[in-house]
């Protein structure tokens, strides 16, 4: 897999600014990078450096100020429903069961949206199967308040995947979880990436997480975020949690650490 796939997302000298005039805040600056189909990239950097902004750019939620951003060769000018997003807070709708939360995107995205009425049963089946694949087979009819934090986060990731997006975007998705649950969800994410061949972009503060999951790690500088280091992770796949205790892994973590916050 690695960088062998064809390029999917291309950023060419992209920068982005919030606000205008004297309130202008430049969030990211001069980003040039390529994300290949099926690649798993991780973005790390100090707080407030523009990682979430970069995600919003690629998902089309925010326009670029300078430079060109294209996906599959087409310039991005607005939201493209090729992405699925999950954040640190699961943000499930408390009045919906897990399976109904997962179905939400299908009520928005065409062609599912218009088929929803007729093929409700088939879609529910698909959502249940997806939940089962992340170990929530018995919890599909539970409400969010009946699920643990980790289960809520799994559900949130299922919601991001149900419409089979080209790119899965995860913004510090495991930040609020305890260490054991976090490692479980690393493995879940690894398996999802492996089995679905989805392209993934992970924003994280956890360097071990970045090295464990990613093919390429981008280190960003303080705001405005520039890329100061690109680290290819050549650890063989499939990766087991055991590798996190081994020297090559730890060397990579140390190497990345030395690039954070000193620019």
């Amino acid at each position: 897999m690695m960088n062998a796939g064809e390029s999917l997302v291309v950023l060419d000298h992209v920068s982005m600014t919030y606000g205008h005039g004297k309130h202008a805040v430049k969030a990211v600056d001069d980003l040039t990078l390529t994300i290949h189909k099926g690649e798993f990239i991780a973005v790390v950097g100090p707080s407030g450096c523009g990682k979430s902004s970069m995600m919003k750019l690629i998902s089309g939620l925010k326009p670029t100020s300078e430079g060109v951003l294209s996906i599959e060769g087409k310039r991005v000018t607005g939201p493209i429903n090729k992405v699925g997003m999950a954040f640190q807070a699961a943000n499930l709708l408390p009045w919906r069961t897990a399976v109904d939360n997962v179905l939400l995107p299908l009520e928005i995205v065409e062609p599912h949206r218009s088929r929803m009425g007729r093929e409700k049963a088939a879609y529910r089946h698909k959502a249940r199967a997806l939940l089962a694949s992340v170990g929530l087979g018995e919890f599909t009819e539970k409400f969010p308040w009946q699920l643990s934090g980790g289960m809520q986060q799994r559900t949130s990731i299922c919601r991001a995947l149900i419409h089979e997006p080209e790119i899965l975007m995860l913004d510090e998705p495991f930040g609020a979880l305890d260490a054991f649950t976090r490692e479980e969800l690393w493995c879940m994410t690894r398996d999802i990436h492996q089995s679905r061949g989805v392209t993934a972009m992970l924003v994280t503060h956890d360097l071990r997480e970045a090295v464990f999951l990613a093919d390429t790690v981008y280190v960003m500088s303080d705001r405005p975020g520039k890329i100061v280091k690109v680290q290819t992770i050549n650890l063989p796949r499939p990766r087991d949690l055991e590798i996190t205790y081994e020297k090559p892994f730890q060397d990579l973590v140390h190497e990345l650490r030395s690039h954070i916050g000193k620019h």
Partner: protein, 255 residues
């Protein structure tokens, strides 16, 4: 009945104690019935004047519920509009605040000039006094949609209408139903206030007439009827709230 002690026994005991205290006070201080009639005298008056109390209660109930119904319809529409658009919010808010600041008693004479003495001023007063909390609550509920959830949906190409329909409106429902408890009480107050100023019937009018005729027992019977009706209306809306937004209670671990 897990909580029967705090939900049934405690309030019942307190109410009974209050009535007993009232009775003792009447006897102990030798209060004349023209100042404060005993509870039993009030109960007797309730029975004696039951037909009048009953028909006037129905009238007050009717005007309250009609005004409340109008408040729900307009409150929802206006609340969604204000929560929807910053422009509409900016345009309407100052006027609404000014409007809410005017004591509704002051509006009743105008309503009477426009619609004459009768049922309609009572309905309108109930409506005017009760729709504001509904508007504010619905708008607040809409405005509290998490930005990240909006991102999740907008990245899928969701329109603003989609986000409001799928997230905003359901999210604002606990606020809406919560405001109904306040609104129904206010509507009730509005009806009665209007009836005491200019009406042909209703509990307010009945009490006004009883006062003019020095029938203090009937005045107090009217107060008792108001209290009972008030509790019933509140309980009803509280029940509706629990029924429709159970998720909000459970999500916070209350229910």
């Amino acid at each position: 009945m897990k909580h029967w002690k705090e939900n049934i026994l405690a309030p019942l005991a307190f109410t009974v104690a209050l009535i007993v205290l009232w009775d003792i006070a009447c006897v102990l201080f030798g209060l004349p019935a023209t100042v404060l009639p005993t509870p039993s005298a009030v109960a007797k008056a309730l029975v004696q004047y039951w037909p009048a109390v009953w028909t006037n209660s129905l009238q007050t109930l009717m005007t309250t519920l009609l005004g409340f119904g109008l408040a729900i319809v307009f409150g929802l529409i206006l609340g969604v509009a204000i929560g929807w658009s910053k422009l509409i919010y900016g345009a309407l808010y100052p006027v609404m605040i000014a409007f809410n600041a005017v004591p509704k008693v002051a509006v009743v004479p105008i309503l009477i000039i426009w619609f004459g003495i009768g049922t309609i001023p009572a309905i309108f007063t109930a409506f005017l006094i009760s729709f504001f909390p509904i508007v504010v609550n619905v708008a607040t509920g809409l405005a509290t949609t998490e930005p990240e959830l909006q991102d999740v949906l907008r990245a899928l190409g969701a329109s603003k209408l989609d986000v409001v329909r799928k997230v905003g409106i359901p999210r604002s429902m606990p606020y809406f139903f919560g405001s109904l408890k306040v609104a129904i009480t206010l509507a009730f107050v509005g009806s009665v206030v209007s009836e005491t100023i200019g009406a042909n019937s209703g509990l307010g009018k009945m009490m006004l007439d009883a006062q003019a005729g020095f029938n203090v027992e009937l005045v107090f019977a009217g107060v008792a009827a108001l209290a009972i009706l008030g509790i019933a209306l509140y309980a009803l809306t509280a029940l509706v709230e629990k029924r429709f937004t159970g998720w909000a209670f459970r999500a916070e671990g209350i229910g």
